[in-house]
């Protein structure tokens, strides 16, 4: 295991860079960050639509979310790979294809988490804000979302973690990320797949686990500041 690591660590970290395209762990992280930062606002929008007082808005967004939830990400990536260029008229790189598929998929899941948070806000909170003369959108922005998002922080974290893990499906469309790099190494080493995938597992674990821990720490800190009971 150590000899593999010694020989290929650069490839695992950055892929062919700087002689070729960036890849490996660096690419995985870039993908995850792009996927997350784009799906987050979209998920909020979807969640707000699903809790909207307009029945049809709620219904349409509900169908959309369930449709996406019913499809394996693999299939979604596949369709994005071929449909996106048709729609936009431009050829689109594997990287952006994967980002788009991830964003669509993750915002559906994330929106479910956020919706649960919004629905759990006591009605009195909304009434209190509205009775002070504050409008719907400001109430949403200043009262509902801050509380809802904070309350579902653990749920969102595990969604973030699965996004990181799901970038690994990028290898199907040859996006040069961590799993792809590991596959390449595996093809070169050929006879030690367990060791190669062991290294892969450890790398994912370190990244994901530190993320969860960091968010947990943040959560406790905010609770302390707000003098709320620990969750």
């Amino acid at each position: 295991m150590l000899d593999i690591l010694q020989q290929y660590w650069l490839m695992l970290l950055v892929g062919q860079y700087p002689n070729g395209p960036l890849g490996g762990l660096a690419m995985t992280l870039i993908l995850a960050v792009c996927g997350l930062s784009l799906s987050f606002p979209l998920a909020i929008l979807l969640a707000v639509a699903r809790t909207s007082p307009y029945r049809w808005v709620a219904r349409i967004s509900g169908y959309t979310v369930n449709m996406i939830r019913g499809m394996p990400l693999l299939m979604l990536i596949f369709w994005a790979y071929f449909v996106l260029p048709k729609v936009t008229g431009h050829s689109i790189s594997g990287f952006w294809t994967l980002v788009c598929a991830l964003v669509v998929y993750e915002s559906a899941y994330l929106s479910e988490v956020i919706r649960a948070g919004i629905e759990a806000i006591p009605k009195g909170q909304i009434e209190a804000s509205r009775s002070l003369g504050v409008g719907y959108w400001t109430t949403l922005r200043k009262v509902i979302l801050p509380q809802a998002l904070f309350n579902v922080l653990p749920g969102m974290t595990s969604q973030f973690v699965s996004t990181i893990k799901e970038t690994s499906l990028g290898y199907v469309i040859s996006v040069n990320e961590l799993t792809f790099a590991a596959n390449q190494i595996n093809n070169m080493v050929l006879t030690q797949p367990l060791q190669v995938f062991g290294i892969l597992a450890i790398m994912y674990f370190i990244v994901c686990f530190s993320l969860s821990r960091a968010v947990g720490w943040l959560d406790r800190k905010i609770r302390r500041v707000r003098q709320m009971s620990p969750a």
Binding site: G70, P72, V161, P193, F197, L200, Y204, C208
Partner: protein, 227 residues
């Protein structure tokens, strides 16, 4: 569209996917229950073990877990049992185990948050009536926790159903495997993946429908105004 041979092949794959899903779900659910109970025992060592189990499964990609179970685990088994296993569809059973373990970590967490949503006073009320710890868990706490966590559990079932596709990495001939096979044989990529997508959607909607039924049947009316 696709000739009937291929369609038949896809349906075959779907059958395997469903088998894998149901077996893994039952195992995952039972194991999750054990995890939850062990975790509530409040022994430092138990909590530590369960937490490690959960963290491992949550932070390592499923694919890697499946590979580990197929290639790593059987090496620890005695020779005789191992060859028996390989002769009896080891791929399917080991994939089911890997999937079940992975899901059980999540299910256990879902149930645990369901447990936390039950006011502690419910526990006290049952104990004050003279029922034992186990009775209280069995008749009062767990039924409520399950009702509270139906929503997350349905999502979990859905994810498990879709995740069965990683089993193809170790040669389980399920839906995605079959689709790839047909695609490779005919190069008719769109038709094949289109049909597979439709099949997956059907399965998912079926699970959602059943879930909604269960949810409607067991909805917990905790009453207006009283937390």
């Amino acid at each position: 569209m696709l000739e009937s041979v291929y369609l038949w092949q896809l349906l075959n794959g779907m059958a395997t996917t469903l088998t894998l899903f149901s077996v893994a779900w039952v195992m995952a659910f039972s194991l999750a229950m054990v995890l939850v109970v062990v975790r509530t025992l409040n022994l430092r060592i138990c909590r530590w073990i369960v937490d490690a189990f959960v963290e491992y499964h949550r932070n390592v990609p499923l694919m890697v877990q499946v590979l580990f179970w197929y290639f790593g685990m059987p090496e620890l088994l005695p020779e005789g049992f191992r060859s028996w296993l390989y002769a009896h569809n080891a791929e399917l059973s080991l994939a089911a185990i890997a999937l079940a373990l992975g899901s059980s970590a999540y299910i256990a967490e879902d149930i645990r948050s369901g447990l936390r949503a039950i006011p502690g006073t419910q526990f006290e009320a049952a104990r004050a009536l003279g029922s034992s710890y186990l009775q209280t868990m069995r008749y009062v706490i767990v039924p409520q926790a399950l009702r509270i966590s139906t929503g997350p559990l349905i999502s979990r079932a859905l994810l498990l159903f879709k995740n069965t596709s990683v089993a193809m990495a170790i040669g389980v001939v399920e839906l995605t495997y079959q689709a790839r096979e047909i695609e490779n044989e005919t190069y008719r990529t769109f038709e094949t993946f289109g049909a597979a997508t439709v099949l997956y959607l059907c399965g998912s909607f079926l699970i959602m429908l059943i879930g909604m039924r269960i949810q409607a049947r067991f909805a917990l009316n905790r009453g207006a105004g009283h937390a």
